[in-house]
Symmetry: C2
Subunit: 162 residues, 2 copies
């Protein structure tokens, strides 16, 4: 078990340890530890997302309101096994994007803890309303956590750059 001081030095003041049923590793959520772009790309590859140019990913992360990493703790080299980020004005609204847990770590309650952590951070900023666009195969994941689908018959619409 790592000391609280060590965890804080690696993952920042706002870090949170994740209870898991049977992991030999400590798993840590952090909004402060910097995300390595290559590690993030590997994680996105692992969940089957199409690649984006790293230069653009870097800029998108910089312009995000909140970036959260889920780390498998290691004193020398923590490994990124989950991720989520939010954009938004941080007051009236925020939107959650790119929620992912590495396939080897799925099904252990980590995705749920990641979302709780994200919402706790947004709540501490006093954001009124958080939105997201759920792919069809994960809609149930969000519903089970109390997200409301299209309240007031709101529909989502997209426009893609030509």
């Amino acid at each position: 078990m790592a000391s609280a001081e060590l965890l804080t030095s690696l993952y920042g003041d706002q870090h949170r340890l994740c209870p898991t049923p049977n992991s030999q590793h400590s798993l840590v959520l952090s909004r402060e530890r910097e995300i390595d772009l290559f590690e993030l790309e590997r994680l996105c590859d692992a969940v089957g997302w199409s690649r984006r140019p790293l230069r653009r990913v870097r800029k998108a992360l910089q312009h995000s309101l909140l970036r959260v990493g889920l780390w498998r703790h290691d004193p020398r080299m923590p490994k990124l096994v989950g991720f989520a980020r939010c954009t938004g004005d941080g007051v009236v609204e925020a939107t959650v994007w790119d929620v992912a847990v590495h396939p080897l770590y799925q099904g252990a309650g980590l995705g749920k803890q990641l979302m709780v952590y994200v919402l706790d951070q947004l709540r501490s900023m006093e954001v009124d309303r958080v939105s997201l666009f759920a792919d069809p195969e994960v809609v149930a994941f969000y519903i089970a956590q109390g997200w409301e689908l299209e309240p007031l018959q709101r529909r989502c619409a997209f426009w893609y750059s030509p």
Copy 2:
């Protein structure tokens, strides 16, 4: 007809004049002219939106990626008759919020020109994908402009701060 120099001094380099069928006034779109919070509140009142604390609106505007005003030109006191804003990382994605045209100015093609202007500005930032949440009574407004509703069966979900 106002001179281009005057319009630029009032509305900035990126301003765009709106052609309208039969308006005695010049109508101007601008992402640069500052939005007065009280005027914005009156506009939101006029379209029937519930009020938000001004302090929070100010912060939300500051943290937005793009704020667009539609102005009825007047050399001394331009009047805000339309509005839209976007949040997002400005790279991978942006989201459009709070699109409104004053009821007295609706139905003249201004809402459409406002959206074209917003998308042109986002395109100039090279944003890949723009999203929005459409209220049921305006879904057709966006569809007619080429927005895709829930592509890939994506659903929108909301979480409200308790």
